[in-house]
Point group: C2
Chain length 335, copies 2
């Protein structure tokens, strides 16, 4: 019962169970060629000794880390949560775990955000953020891009949502509500660009005029607030706004409130991402759902198929987004 004794190894387990180390190894990897009684004995010894296989030893000896590295932008914008969940679900059956790295958190300490993952010898890399010049992509391991990005990675698979279509649908919804003057506030990045194009598509098709404001590469609440202030000042006639994402939509709501406009009575607002934020009582935001959980599941499929066949051609999967109607849209005033 001494707390400070040496950690149990596979040898200790074998000895306690009265079997060979080889057998223990087989049990650990769920081999079918182990008889029930022996398996029980080993499991009992594992429990008794509080044994946990050393990941370092397993990885080194097996030549495989069994982990997939995921890079996200920033823990603060929670759009990625459902994606992670889907990814993990899809990978679990194959015995793969995920490790996540936050770009902004690691920005200070290492030049290349991928370094840690490469040292870990991850089986694959999932990018849920815009690639940066500092990232040197290894040619040996599969790279899967989650979402639309501005930069292309040669050879990488892509799972994304049709952002252009999503934005178009959002605008079509506003038009169907009678809105004629619809603004768009945009940030930077690949998804933002497509959403902007979708906005344009819909307006052009309807013969309406564009009102676009984009003040920064960021897509934060503050960005949304600043853009909206500017938009309301420059184009007072607008009665609806499509925001580049939910955070920006939140900022738009603040700017509207400040300007004395009621949402949705005076101003309709649509966000993008269907993030946890949008589904609050306070925002109750109409938004576009990229179906991030399913997206995560698809990314998992791509990881697995690419691992099974490293030579297969890069593929691109695109999901259709869904408009989620909540409480921030209403018919235009003078419609």
């Amino acid at each position: 019962m001494a707390a400070e004794r040496r950690r149990a190894t596979i040898y200790d387990v074998a000895q306690a169970a009265g079997v060979s180390k080889s057998l223990v190894s087989l049990v650990l990897r769920d081999s079918p060629s182990v008889s029930a009684p022996r398996r029980e004995a080993v499991l009992a010894a594992i429990k008794e000794l509080n044994y946990r296989p050393s990941q370092a030893a397993t990885a080194l000896a097996g030549g495989t880390s069994q982990t997939v590295g995921v890079v996200i932008d920033d823990y603060t914008n929670t759009w990625f949560v459902e994606l992670l969940r889907g990814l993990q679900e899809g990978l679990a059956s194959a015995g793969l775990r995920i490790a996540v790295s936050d770009r902004s958190l690691n920005a200070h300490i290492e030049s290349d955000p991928l370094d840690g993952f490469l040292s870990t010898r991850v089986e694959a890399l999932v990018l849920a953020t815009e690639p940066t010049p500092a990232m040197r992509f290894p040619s040996q391991i599969p790279v899967i891009i989650a979402g639309n990005r501005a930069t292309q990675i040669p050879g990488a698979d892509i799972t994304c949502s049709d952002d252009r279509l999503g934005a178009r649908r959002a605008i079509e919804h506003l038009i169907s509500l009678g809105h004629q003057h619809i603004g768009h506030i945009a940030g930077g990045g690949g998804a933002s660009r497509l959403r902007l194009n979708g906005y344009r598509d819909a307006l052009t098709a309807a013969g309406l005029k564009e009102h676009i404001v984009s003040v920064s590469e960021l897509t934060t609440e503050d960005t949304g607030y600043q853009c909206t202030r500017r938009l309301l000042k420059d184009a007072g006639e607008i009665t609806a706004i499509l925001a580049g994402n939910d955070s920006m939509a939140m900022g738009a709501m603040a700017a509207a409130q400040e300007a004395g406009l009621s949402v949705p009575e005076d101003l309709s607002i649509i966000g993008y991402d269907n993030s946890p934020l949008s589904d609050t009582h306070l925002l109750h935001l109409t938004t576009v759902d990229s179906r991030n959980h399913e997206l995560g599941l698809h990314v998992a499929t791509q990881v697995l198929s690419r691992l099974a066949d490293p030579e297969r051609e890069a593929q691109r999967v695109q999901l259709e987004p869904l408009l989620i109607e909540r409480g921030t849209c209403a018919a235009a005033r003078n419609a």
Copy 2:
């Protein structure tokens, strides 16, 4: 230039640099006993070969993973972001990295959320969440609790903020603004309990009556919304609310709005955590800052000192919280 060649090892680097493997190992660990020219040669070879030391091999041979495991509740509530940042800053100088695990994400796949970390042989465990019965704490490695928790872990160090004091200060602030009927909406967990006590302390000292609502163990936006609806119904006289955290405060704002109350004109609201959410234009929430960044720094200090002296007694560090005045408090109507 063949992409599929074998990954470089320390042997390849040694050969390319024309030195021994031992020397490469010394360079990797920044040994001072290496001459500049040889160091240059090794670094050049590392770059040339795109070499990254195998974490598995390093950990296994060195007998140390150099990583600290951090368990958080849930990526959705972003209060932990600054804590992680502080922790990482404090650990970086010692060459320790952090690995984070989200409880809710892992809930499905493994019984004990700590299992993964134990397999990794983390040097220490940081708990930024309420301990659950499923967690079996190893006696061999340091455990540090970040924040106030309902459950005690024998032998663990604690770094927390004085939640009781923070809540008391918040209430005192409201009282100084003339509020006589102040409600509190609370969730579950150790921090919530202390904040509740702080609320009581202040009211008792001022001879005021309590109005407390707590409908669940959760501390989400929805919880805050439900609690506030109930509070407004049961105690219509209240003019101010202290929420258990910022998410709940957000829900409170929604309930107030729904009830036709303006914040802060009709109802003052104070949150808790100074989370990214509170610092938005839309909420602009007066809140209590637990100084999570500093808290993370202190946790790092505890990790390091405990690693240096495993026998030292468990210590408890407590920070003084700060009231952050923003826009959700005003003088009471009939003060």
